[in-house]
Symmetry: C2
Subunit: 123 residues, 2 copies
């Protein structure tokens, strides 16, 4: 099964915040083993979620995992992403779309917090 | 130097999202070695950032590290947290307040994304 990842962030007017996601996507592409890793934004930035999904399909994916790049996905984000998933399943019937959990909560986030604390204290 | 951590999230109307931060704080308390680890929210939830700072000081901290619990801290969040830091430094002149970086970007976040992808694909 050829799988692609579509990382979906909220999107910001601040180019730097959007660039964080694009860098994460570049790093994940280098790691492999996915057929494609694409970025998309719910609003305020491009590419849109449908454009990101289209890029995954164009990359040859038969399965696309939608990953909310959020510490926590609220009701609205979950609803929007579920609606996208259903629309994509209709639009691309030969492709399976799955919705992943958001980043948090996860124990590794505590390691990141601890490192940010150390940097601020000693850096 | 007795150091406390104050983790600051945006705050949500959704109790579950706020509970993620409270659980992270509990876990960080168990890890140590900080004099106190407290949670605070910029809006929509309690405790407020001033109440969280007061709790850190009451816990005996001589240094308080404000940690933005955000994947990316935009202009508004950075400005608000810098203003809090300056206000707290005036209010508690015997305590040093430092502002940490937000969680992202960080390589461990890529590990979390990879795990979310694996869970969605195989879980």
């Amino acid at each position: 099964m050829t799988t692609a990842l579509l990382l979906i962030a909220h999107g910001s007017r601040r180019a730097e915040a959007n660039a964080d996601l694009l860098r994460a996507v570049e790093d994940l592409r280098r790691r492999g083993p996915y057929a494609a890793v694409e970025a998309a934004f719910l609003e305020l930035a491009s590419p849109s979620v449908p454009d990101g999904a289209a890029a995954c399909v164009a990359g040859g994916a038969r399965r696309v995992i939608l990953i909310p790049y959020f510490l926590a996905a609220g009701v609205h984000v979950r609803r929007d992403l579920s609606a996208f998933r259903e629309a994509f399943a209709r639009q691309y019937p030969e492709v399976e779309f799955r919705l992943a959990e958001p980043l948090g909560p996860h124990p590794l986030l505590l390691d990141v917090v601890a490192e940010r604390a150390r940097e601020a204290e000693h850096g």
